[in-house]
């Protein structure tokens, strides 16, 4: 940035500009200025399209190993409330924004986002033409990137990024999972104005922590779960010895094929106890059933993906954050009498949406498995339910945080599954719309 430019910005809320560079492994260079901690970080470049909820994104452990670009240009507007974070510390490698807000405004805010990022030592860049970056990533695929406020030589950065380690095939879970078995019951006070209080704990649930978002655990607690959190590779026997009513499998970062430590245990749990999985947890159930996982051409990261529940025909607007997905046909052969007479698998699962059928396959390990949810944007699998054992899972995020809460009913469904309700997934999302929320008390006036 030129000195005249610095003079022009001198009396604004912007920090003194310090050059920063983002270089992708294909040689693309994006210029900007540092807006948080300084340093040099490597990771996979990806983007998130949520309009709000930047703090939840930044602290989502599933972003371990990644450099996140926020597509909405102005980030930090409403500041930071530490009770909104999804994990004690951010797991992402770096943050790319168009414009970082240093003077936020919101009654819940206790510090600004750049202050928070500095505290957490997160390197971030602003001033980037993020739309150009996003289009580039969309067209050329996810790739390694380096973000540096130290080295601003594009050639040297390109050399470094090409030598950096790719996250494909790497197990990132140990970097974000807890290491000790512990209980979880705390709920954020600062959400009390909006979120309904927790139900009495009735179900003893063990949650595998592969990098669980706090909001998932909070949702389980609010639904009445007495929650114990265990490390990602806890042996199934240990869990079963706790005699839980249900087991929950959390989200988590990276390539699911590398997480054998979890899915090998899940394989032993399935059929013995009700299981619910979200995101990586969904992939763990799939892997346990012997299915194949693909790396998506375009990862899903945002808060606006339409997913159809094939059982109800309702569309949910969902929060998503995954780069890998289940290949539904790999779960087994279709059972024609339960699949609208169809015996041939199709790649684009929107076929089942058009047919109005929730197809069922015969799985070698766990019997009949039904496809319950399909992404309407690209026809990928979003949810499955086992018919012969008590287990179901979704690829997306019913806890949202950030994002729409249409799929909140899935937590209720888990409770119903543990209560042995055969129609546990049959919930009208419209009726469930306000479940979990609270609004101030209304005072009535008496008059003519």
């Amino acid at each position: 940035m030129s000195s005249i430019s610095e003079q022009l910005l001198a009396n604004t809320s912007k920090p003194v500009p310090k050059e920063a560079l983002l270089v992708l492994e294909d040689g693309s260079v994006f210029k900007g200025t540092a807006c948080a901690a300084e340093g040099e970080v490597f990771g996979e470049i990806c983007f998130n399209t949520s309009l709000e909820g930047y703090l939840e994104v930044i602290t989502d452990p599933s972003y371990a190993g990644q450099i996140i670009t926020m597509t909405y240009p102005q980030i930090g507007n409403y500041g930071v409330n530490l009770e909104d974070i999804q994990r004690e510390h951010p797991a992402l490698r770096g943050l790319v924004v168009r414009d970082m807000c240093t003077r936020p405004s919101n009654w819940r805010s206790t510090l600004s986002l750049p202050e928070y990022l500095k505290q957490e030592n997160v390197v971030a860049i602003e001033g980037v033409d993020t739309r150009a970056l996003v289009r580039h990533v969309r067209d050329h695929g996810a790739q390694r990137a380096v973000l540096s406020t130290i080295d601003t030589n594009p050639e040297s950065l390109l050399k470094k990024v090409r030598e950096s380690v790719s996250i494909v095939g790497v197990n990132l879970i140990p970097t974000v999972s807890c290491t000790e078995i512990h209980t979880f019951a705390s709920l954020p006070k600062s959400h009390d104005f909006a979120v309904a209080p927790a139900l009495e704990p009735k179900h003893k649930v063990v949650a595998y922590d592969c990098g669980a978002k706090r909001s998932i655990l909070q949702n389980l607690v609010r639904c009445g779960c007495d929650l114990t959190v265990v490390p990602w590779n806890t042996p199934a026997e240990t869990v079963l010895d706790m005699h839980p009513d249900g087991v929950f499998l959390s989200n988590g970062p990276g390539d699911p094929d590398a997480v054998e430590g979890t899915y090998s245990q899940v394989q032993k749990l399935l059929g013995k106890v009700p299981v619910f999985g979200i995101c990586l947890g969904h992939q763990m159930i799939s892997k346990a059933a012997g299915a194949s996982i693909e790396k998506l051409k375009f990862g899903h990261r945002g808060g606006n993906h339409p997913v159809m529940n094939l059982l109800t025909g309702r569309v949910e607007i969902t929060a998503q954050n995954h780069g890998f997905g289940l290949l539904f046909p790999s779960l087994g052969e279709l059972i024609p009498e339960l699949s609208g007479g169809h015996s041939e698998h199709v790649d684009d699962l929107r076929f089942w949406v058009r047919e109005g059928v929730a197809p069922v396959v015969q799985n070698d390990r766990f019997g009949r498995i039904r496809l319950t949810h399909v992404n309407l944007n690209d026809g990928t699998a979003e949810g499955i339910a086992c018919l012969d054992i008590p287990a179901f899972s979704v690829q997306y995020h019913p806890e949202a945080s950030p994002g729409p809460t249409d799929a909140h009913y899935l937590f209720t469904a888990f409770i119903r599954l543990m209560d042995k309700d055969p129609n546990y997934l049959d919930i009208d999302i419209a009726a469930d719309r306000l479940a979990g929320w609270t609004f101030g008390e209304r005072k009535e006036l008496q008059h003519a």
């Binding site: 104005f193 909006a194 025909g313 306000l434 009535e444």
Partner: protein, 1075 residues
């Protein structure tokens, strides 16, 4: 589920004339709906009284009725067309109210018409505050604490519980008419008594004040399967207390954390379901306490609204189109996202830019009214700006308003903010407050002071503080000091070249040249509904200085024609010009061009992304237009169809080497420049009123000495008669000259001899350079002296002789050819004592083009565009322009006086109307009566008529009064008028004037006994008796006329309506040019 096959014919009700609170956004939504329903194979029947709309183009619906939107007329249409279904949610409050009336009166049942999209119960639950509040209580969602008052006493009792201030909302009024905030007992009495009268239900809601809270809107859609989505969230810049239509608004919401936003989202969807909106779009408004996040739902509209038009433009998601498809049975997941063409419409748009909407006001037109913004909407139009940041968008917005400003201040036009005026300028919400806020920060007031006083969220004020800081750092630098990086920084903070020029003591062209020399050019990004997550094919662009990559202009496959739109709606420049631009776009596309639309008005059809091949949502300034020209390199630019906004750019564009289509800027200047124009008229032997030009009072006196009083005075280069007046003596002239200097200091003032009592005529014609085609001759009903936009007029002429008409045609032919018009020309004539004078000629589309096109079946704007593209009139296969028309068409203006309490309602040379209606009938009086019905929704049928006219009119009043008596009305009149009537043998009762003490005529008006009033102005004092009368009439919603010719037409119309009744006619039954 796919579309319904059990219905074939669908009736769509439009929103009628453009009024404050209900503008062309309903043409945009209605046109979308008609198109999509027709494309789906339904037969579409449309009723809309507004001729300036695209939706009333005969090609858009199958049966188009330009008829009054009253239950009576719509029933006639139902009887004739027998629709299976009625879609009531696309015509604003007018359409909805009419649908409710038809449903309640049993008409829909009688003819077996099903209401689709929204049923009666849902409408009532949404509109009736009591039922709405009950629904919210059942959901557990808070509404403001409140109570209903049916009397002053009720209101007082409720206030006893709530305490002041309270918000008052009369039930069932348009755009919150009659509402307000009462801070004390006096204000309570005033507003409640007005509100009780205005409310059809005689009911006023008294509510706890949430003034100063943050305000949000959610645009929601739902299908019959129960799928719901939020299309867009909107945050108001102005805090609660200012009507959302009068607020600056920002999309998406800027200051809500995820937990707050998601709760609001869930509540919005739950509210839609609770109210029972089966399908379609609705908007839900919330207030949030900035101290603790307490959220209150304010209201919801179970229909397409102004905000949904804005949300559609802001996101690219076509709400009205989707709403129409949902109403006929589709579900959201069955509709394809129009922009990406690959993903379903069942999603929530993500945007990667910031959108700012700023309302456009017209207080300068309404002297005497309070310009404080309140819960009652007063804006006449709006603009929208898109930028990558709030700063970039706001900067753009502030130069889009067509109010002479070059951005957010720093253009030499700011009012100094001092300790003394700080509270008034920053604390009181007004049209210009945003400028004052910037100026206050510039003057050294802290952001905290501004936040405290204005109640505007700190986020916005801090951003504005940054913008001002950058401006002030630039002040005093030299433009040649600026490097590329500095220019980019300035641009990213929303500054225009003019602002940079002002602050560096340079000029716009130098700044532009320096900037381009340094390679600082903008890029163009795309509105794609998905923040670039998916590819999109739709060319809907905005400009930004995030310039790593540009997404326009794309490959050149054909010749490119660029059409400059009309900017914000304001009085004098409304939907008519947008209509012309849209027609030009259609015609040029058909003629093989790639069409490029540039406009910044979110309410319009022109800014629909599928109207033109490409859309640039940008301000219509030289800088912004040239940046697009540099990128697109158009083969031609159309400047003559968007009114004065693009026309005033013609010279600068032409000098910059831009190819102008049609009439050359040189020819435009020939007509605009008085001296050159007079010389042409002299040369052609055409009479015109004696005229002169002056820049000072002394010069003006010299002119007056030469040509004598009365004089018609006006500034040059204005539209809509802005600043125009009639002066009768030297004192008035002096006052005028002082005022004029404020309006357009750079331009001189014209002084014309005023032809008192003359008949005025408008003529619209096409010219290709060789041949002239007269599109229509419009005889005004009011005499000269009233702005042509405020006059009622009739085509074909109802009283002019054949000889005069052919003389007018002949003059038009000679003049158009002589000026060198290629395209449209509008000529205004005055005829006095059988002499034809030319008042003015404008070589551009006029306000009357859509009306004339509908009256004659010849689409003038389309043809003009084809002529500009090189076609000849001879090859257009037009019907003879001297053919006889079977029907008379009357255009009548609609006045917004009800919104501006205290302003004088007398008509004059300065235009004040916001919109117009059309009446079509076999004879003139019937057509006029239809026009009246379309405005007032009823014609006086019996009762008492009040008459009070100036001396000049007393003799001519007699035959009209006689007619009124004959029709069975009683007449009351003030002293002088009563004496004149009695002397002529017309019986009447005398009533006291206001100045004669009470009880007087105002009491009679207040009692509701007077069914209409004829009052012609006495003098020129504003606070006269007449003023009191006319404002009382407005306050009580009473019909009135302020000219004798108007009175004559009204009485004749009433008689026809009563004696023979009024038939309906579809445009498709009139001859239409087929090309």
């Amino acid at each position: 589920m796919p579309k319904r096959t059990d219905i074939q014919t669908i009736l769509v009700i439009g929103s009628g004339p453009i009024v404050i609170g209900q503008a062309c956004e309903f043409d945009y939504s209605g046109a979308q709906a008609c198109k999509v329903l027709k494309a789906d194979g339904y037969k579409v029947v449309l009723v809309n009284s507004n001729p300036a709309t695209i939706m009333t183009d005969p090609g858009l619906a199958d049966r188009t009725y330009v008829e009054p939107i009253t239950a009576e007329f719509v029933e006639k249409v139902i009887e004739k067309e027998r629709p299976d279904a009625l879609l009531p949610t696309l015509g604003g409050q007018t359409g909805l109210n009419t649908a409710v009336e038809l449903a309640k009166s049993g008409v829909l049942d009688k003819y077996g018409v099903e209401m689709i999209g929204c049923d009666l119960e849902a409408i009532e639950r949404g509109e009736d505050r009591k039922m709405f509040n009950d629904c919210m209580a059942e959901l557990g969602i808070e509404t403001a604490r409140s109570g209903y008052a049916y009397s002053i006493e009720d209101a007082e009792r409720i206030v006893g519980e709530l305490g002041y201030p309270v918000v008052l909302r009369p039930s069932f009024t348009l755009g919150g008419a009659g509402g307000g905030i009462a801070h004390n007992h006096d204000e309570l009495l005033l507003i409640v008594s007005q509100g009780l009268e205005l409310s059809p239900a005689g009911e006023v809601l008294v509510e706890e004040s949430i003034e100063g809270w943050k305000e949000f809107e959610m645009e929601v859609m739902r299908d019959h399967a129960g799928n719901g989505i939020i299309v867009c969230s909107i945050e108001n810049f102005d805090a609660m207390g200012v009507h959302t239509g009068d607020s600056i608004t920002v999309a998406p919401a800027q200051t809500l954390s995820d937990v707050e936003y998601q709760r609001m989202r869930a509540a919005s969807l739950a509210i839609l379901e609770k109210i029972g909106v089966e399908t379609g779009g609705s908007n839900v408004q919330f207030a949030v306490n900035p101290q603790n996040g307490r959220m209150i739902v304010i209201e919801m509209n179970p229909r397409v609204s102004r905000s949904s038009a804005l949300a559609s433009k802001a996101t690219g998601f076509p709400i009205a189109k989707a709403a129409a498809k949902l109403a006929v049975g589709y579900t959201l997941d069955e509709i394809v996202n129009d922009i990406t063409k690959a993903t379903p419409a069942c999603f929530e748009p993500s945007i990667d830019y910031c959108v700012v909407k700023v309302p456009r006001f017209a207080f300068e037109k309404f002297q005497g009214t309070d310009d404080t913004l309140s819960t009652r909407m007063k804006a006449v139009g709006e603009i929208m700006a898109i930028g990558r940041t709030f700063e970039e968008a706001l900067g753009k917005a502030m130069r889009s308003l067509e109010n002479g400003r070059a951005g957010l201040g720093a253009d030499g036009k700011d009012v100094r903010v001092t300790e003394e005026n700080f509270n008034d300028l920053v604390g009181r919400p007004t049209a210009d407050r945003i400028f004052h806020i910037a100026e206050a920060l510039r003057a050294g007031f802290t952001p905290e002071q501004v936040i405290e006083t204005s109640k505007i969220d700190p986020f916005f004020i801090n951003r504005i503080a940054d913008m001002v800081a950058v401006q002030e750092s630039l002040r005093g630098m030299r433009v040649d000091e600026l490097d590329a990086d500095a220019f980019r920084t300035l641009k990213r903070y929303g500054m225009s070249d003019i602002q940079i020029a002002h602050l560096t003591n340079s000029d716009e062209l130098t700044v532009r040249a320096c900037r381009k020399l340094l390679g600082v050019r903008p890029s163009f990004k795309t509105v794609d509904t998905c923040a670039a997550e998916f590819e999109s094919t739709t060319a809907y662009h905005y400009k930004t200085y995030d310039a790593d990559e540009t997404e326009a202009p794309g490959e050149r496959t054909k010749k490119r024609a660029m059409i400059l739109g009309a900017g914000p709606n304001r009085i004098g420049q409304g939907i008519e010009f947008d209509y012309c631009c849209v027609h030009a776009s259609y015609a040029l596309h058909d003629a093989g061009f790639e069409t490029i639309m540039v406009n910044c008005n979110p309410e319009t059809v022109s800014t629909d992304y599928d109207t033109s091949d490409k859309l640039y949502f940008e301000p219509l300034t030289f800088e912004d237009v040239m940046d697009i020209v540099d990128a697109e390199k158009p083969d031609g630019v159309v400047v003559t169809l968007g009114g004065q906004t693009p026309l005033k750019l013609a010279n600068a564009l032409s000098e910059a080497g831009v190819p102008i289509m049609g009439t050359s800027p040189e020819a435009i200047d020939l007509a605009e420049d008085r001296d050159r124009f007079s010389a042409i008229l002299d040369e052609l032997g055409i009479a015109y009123p004696a005229a002169g030009m002056a820049s000072t009072f002394q010069e003006a006196c010299a002119v007056a000495d030469q040509i004598g009083f009365p004089l018609l005075v006006r500034p040059s280069y204005v539209l809509g008669g802005r600043g125009m007046g009639i002066v009768y003596d030297g004192a008035q002239l002096e006052k005028y000259m002082t005022e004029a200097a404020k309006i357009t200091p750079d331009h001189p003032v014209y002084l014309d001899r005023f032809l008192e009592g003359a008949v005025e005529v408008d003529l619209d014609a096409l010219c290709d350079g060789d041949q002239v085609y007269v599109g229509g001759v419009l005889e005004h009903i009011e005499e000269a002296g009233i702005h042509s936009g405020d006059s009622s007029c009739c085509t074909p002429p109802f009283a002019l002789s054949e000889a005069i008409v052919s003389q007018l045609r002949s003059i038009a032919r000679r003049l158009a050819l002589r000026i060198g018009v290629v395209g449209l020309i509008n000529i205004q004539f005055a005829i006095k004592d059988q002499v034809v004078y030319i008042i003015e000629a404008n070589p551009r589309a006029s306000r009357t083009v859509p009306f004339v096109s509908k009256a004659t079946g010849v689409p003038l704007a389309k043809l003009a565009a084809r002529i500009m593209a090189g076609e000849k009139i001879a090859g257009l296969n037009l019907p003879s322009d001297e053919r006889r028309l079977d029907y008379f068409s009357v255009k009548e203006p609609v006045m917004p006086f009800g919104r501006f309490p205290g302003t004088d309602t007398v008509l004059g040379p300065e235009m004040k109307s916001t919109g117009e209606v059309m009446g079509i009938a076999r004879n003139f009086p019937a057509a006029f009566a239809k026009g009246q019905l379309a405005i007032d929704y009823h014609l006086p049928e019996s009762g008492t008529v009040f008459v009070s006219v100036c001396d000049r009119d007393k003799r001519a009043l007699v035959p009209i009064a006689r007619e009124i008596k004959r029709m069975g009305f009683k007449i009351v009149a003030t002293g002088g008028t009563a004496r004149a009537l009695r002397a002529a043998g017309v019986d009447c009762e005398e009533v006291r004037k206001v100045s004669e003490g009470s009880p007087n005529i105002i009491d009679r008006i207040a009692s509701g006994e007077i069914s209409f009033m004829i009052n012609t102005p006495f003098g020129h004092a504003t606070r006269s008796d007449g003023y009191e009368l006319r404002t009382a009439a407005v306050r009580h919603g009473m019909s009135y006329v302020t000219t004798l010719s108007g009175a004559q037409a009204l009485v004749a119309g009433m008689e026809v309506a009563r004696e023979v009744g009024l038939d309906i006619v579809a445009l498709q039954d009139l001859p239409q040019w087929e090309g």
